[in-house]
Symmetry: C2
Subunit: 115 residues, 2 copies
Amino acid sequence: MVKYQTADLDQTFAALADPTRRAIVARLASGECTVGELSRPFPISAPAVSKHLRLLEGAGLIERRRDGRTQRCRLNAPALDRAVDWITSQRRFWNESLDRLADHLAAQTQEERSS
Amino acid sequence: MVKYQTADLDQTFAALADPTRRAIVARLASGECTVGELSRPFPISAPAVSKHLRLLEGAGLIERRRDGRTQRCRLNAPALDRAVDWITSQRRFWNESLDRLADHLAAQTQEERSS
DNA sequence: TTGATACTTAACCATGTGGTTAATTAATGA
DNA sequence: TCATTAATTAACCACATGGTTAAGTATCAA
């Protein structure tokens, strides 16, 4: 039985509350890339992207490492896990739609594995 | 294949970013209750709780109905589902720890069902 | 060495949030 | 009818966030 500090969840959920940051996470889910590649699709300034990355890093959702003059970013799985974990653990006491959720996730997982 | 408006997710994740609101969700997960019962455990004023409830309601996470002079609150499952759904759908493209997550969720579900 | 590239930091602004206290509305019960 | 209880709205404050532009810091390449 693992315990998580609530501060982590604060930051994780807050980080996911912004559509730009969710888009960044979605982009990184399909593979590591540089800050430049990451910001190109967005109509906002580089400093704005930089701030988003700092929040995401603070939440533990991403990691950065220098690579010459660029910087490579990648997703960090456990932080996302903890968020899912918190939500699903609420279902523990809430049986009404628990089975529906379980089936939903099972179906999705099935789909992943067969693709 | 279902599409969700991003605004919903903005509000849902933002709502879950606050520890007081997560505690409220956790309390409601174990059953419907009144606003008064809900605020009693918290060291904050009634108006503060009222604001939290408004945000939770705006995010679609809870529903309220008048019952005489009190007000009953209950959780609304689908909003939580959508949040979990967004996170897990990122995993689709991110195979590295997909199996681990699937196993984790399967184990948890098993635990629920057998309890 | 000089200039361009890839970023971050600094300073600023507008807006939203989380809290307060005080005032308001609505339902109940004496 | 009048007081009490349950909860919200109003008005305010401090602070974080999401954006900006301008300036700074490394790294690479000529």
